[in-house]
């Protein structure tokens, strides 16, 4: 019987790299918590908040973690996908956002060094 030294299998890794940000626009918004069928949403109703419209160079990969806009160190975590390269992030705590803080794109819970700089700063 012959013996085989074997060949280590190259694994098919998921692609988790964030794409380059093409543009970030911000605009005032109002937030009405979504109507749930079985309970009342615990999300706050906001008469006045801010929405970030982000265009990316390529689709953001789909994974368990979510893309997050960071204004300084304050995360903006509620996001809706408009299409492959357009995303809307809505701030649930607009009062925590500080004028002039850099706006970056990262994954949920990611440290600062892993985030993508958008080249913009938050303006009230």
């Amino acid at each position: 019987m012959t013996s085989d030294p074997g060949a280590r299998e190259r694994r098919r890794k998921p692609h988790h790299a964030l794409p380059r940000v093409v543009s970030v626009q911000q605009r005032p918004a109002r937030f009405d918590p979504p109507k749930r069928r079985n309970f009342d949403s615990r999300l706050p109703a906001l008469e006045s908040t801010v929405e970030f419209l982000v265009e990316t160079e390529a689709p953001i990969p789909v994974r368990a973690l979510a893309p997050v806009i960071y204004v300084g160190e304050t995360p903006v975590t509620e996001v809706v996908v408009d299409d492959d390269t357009h995303y809307r992030f809505l701030a649930l705590r607009p009062d925590d956002l500080r004028e002039g803080d850099p706006v970056t794109l990262g994954w949920s819970g990611a440290p600062a060094e892993e985030r993508v700089d958008t080249g913009t700063r938050y303006q009230r």
Partner: protein, 841 residues
Amino acid sequence: MDDTVVRTDELGLKPDRELLSPPWIAGPLYQCATAVTVWGFVPHASLEVEVDGAVVASVTAGFPEPVGQRVPLPAPLVAGQQVRARQHRGGLTSAWSAVLEVRDHTVDYPAGPPRPQINPAPVWTCGSRTGVGNLLGGANVWITADGAEVGRVNGCSQQQGVNVTPFYSLGQQVRAHTDLCRDEAPPSVQYTVAPGPNPLPAPVFDAMFDGQEQIRISQIANGARVTVARGGSALGTFRCWGGALLLGVSPVSTGESFSATQELCASDPSSPPGTGSVQPCAALPAPAVGPVQAGDTSITITAAVPGAMIRVWRNFAQVGTGTAPIVFLTHALVAGDTVHVTQSLTSCPASVARQLTVACVDPPVSGDPSALDLFPVGFTEYAAGPVRGSVYYPAVDDGKDMAFNQRLAALGRVPLVVLAHGNHSPADPSYRGYDYFQTALAKMGIVAVSVDCNALNGSGAGVGNIEARADLIIDSIRHFQALDATPGSLFEGRLDFGRVGLMGHSRGGDAVVTVPEVMGSIGVTIRSVLALAPTNFRYWAGQSTIAPKGYVFATILPAADGDVRDNNGAQFFDQSVPGPFTSQIYVHSANHNFFNRQWLANDGVTPVFARGTHERILEVYGCALFRGTLLGDGSADYLLGTVKPAGVPTPAIDLAYRIEKAETVDNHDDNNTIAVNSLGRPTTTSGGLFADEFPFDQVSGAFNHSFFGLTVGMVLFAREKGAGDFRSETGSVDLRHQEVWLRVAEVVDTTIAGTGVSFDLGLEDAAGRIGWIGSAAVGGVPRPFARPGQSKTMLSTLRFNPHCIGRRAELDLREIVAIHLRPTTGDARPFAFDDLQLVPV
């Protein structure tokens, strides 16, 4: 377990030539059984079986492996009878075995005997013998091919070989059947006879030693006929159910040669010959043994030469003589005892022994909570607009849209588990990825629903996305409530919404923790929730983390998770309130995706276990949780560290757990400084030890960056060499019937050291005496998982049995006033501690 192999000639072991351990009867025993199976006897012993004080059967046994000795009875057993066995050999008579009382199987299995399993499967053309497992001892078993009986054994063992005549033909549909007391179980899974391996592999001889009387030949195809020759003379042709053949022979001698070939169909070539030769007695190794802990009255042998005599010594005095797999002892073991275990053959005494020190706590490996196989499994898909998914359930037979199992339905409503997948490409049917787990649950009588959450995949994220998933899960629960109330539906009147479990993976794990918080009163009681590698979007959004409460919570955390990198399930575990218990299962070398068969990419940040191992881990711990909480059997013990399951890599799995009925000495969450514990009593630190409280979280103020929980705990280390000690007063407590539980971890810094850390736990009685026991005696502090760039300090629970300490130090366990901790590593590496509890046992 620290064990070594030592030479017996250096030990001075004192043999007890009058000692012959009792055998044991495979239980449970059921009414109508026409045979019992006896194990643990020495080869060729004479066995006696006694029923209600009268010996009813005597046989001269062969070898206990592989299936024990079947002893036919002159009359079927009757419920209530008391049965026991003993052995005679070489002029010695053992004590009687433990008594087994005959039971009525309809009490344990009201829906009928468990369905038999063809084992090993599958079934090959020209196969001559089939193994059948999952049987009740003493029952009748038979095989059908295309509906016609081809083989039968009445009064079977739990694993029974059945010769078939005629041999199988290609394309036949083969099933196994069993009955007891004329109560027939559902038939086995049906197998279609297929062509066997061609060419057949050469049979392989396991190592053989001088004096051996039973040889093992492996790599045998299912149902093959094996022709064996010894020294060139044919011994005969033997049918084999597949896997390995254990053959009784006259004692073999050094240098003898054996050969074997196997064949299935005469029209196909036989295999090439396999060969083996007998090694000298000096090469006979020591046997391997399972975990051994204080209080054990038997030793489990995990590897031994077939047919070998096993002897056990405790502190150099012999306390057991028997055979694998279990040898009963004449004395219970005490922590710190030195145990030696040898194996010997006819004319070949042992020259080496397995030596080990009895641990204070080292739970046995026993059983598989996912193995309960009672019912065929039906499955179907449901869709009512956006409310869709798949459901697996106990059925009359295997297959799509089969009718619900009527015998089970007649007994009452059955529990329900609802599963929810996480975020993934919407092009993939993620809800189908847990079909193996749904099947395992359905086999044991639980309806398992997997919700299709694809409408929410790839479409956004945040707390709102998790709420939307919870909404969809509740939609599916309501859908099944409606089916349960719909005349003529498959599930009409079948479902018990008072016994519901939830399992969620990834964002689904986040959602199933949300469901009990928002569900309200809809006639559903959640008894248990399993969060598999969950996200925690509320935490990332700066909101409070949900504290699981009012049900049993468990979380499985893959240490090499390349997606949910922070193992956020640890935050849910830290916040959970035991209801009545909560458990965390931290799995080294596991990734995020491999638990779902539709998620193909390997996200692991290190090499990881095979996909099948991931699935086994979810099956085993998930079934333990849902059997224990929804079916009410003792399977929850697997989540509380008192027994380890077979079939999963338990050395790579670190458990943490808390129970409701415990007195907490210190959980460090009281905001009262390190100087006062949770009982409001003082703590002190001496001898240059440092101890203080820190958030075990990714926040400033944490001891370092390696903590990923959501609690406050203690970090302790020695500033200088010496006998530093941390003392925590308990008030006067009686520990005679309690254990001390403590969560502990080796604190990780930038690198992981080459060796682990250790500490002593001490108990101080009212007279000021202190008795110590080392962490190594209770399993040791688990090593951190080496995760590139982000190794974590992940706490596990260690259990200390006070009696291990009390006897040695002559402590008065009735009046313990303080608990001590002292590092014994010999360096300044810090420990993390939390949840010091006293737990009634």
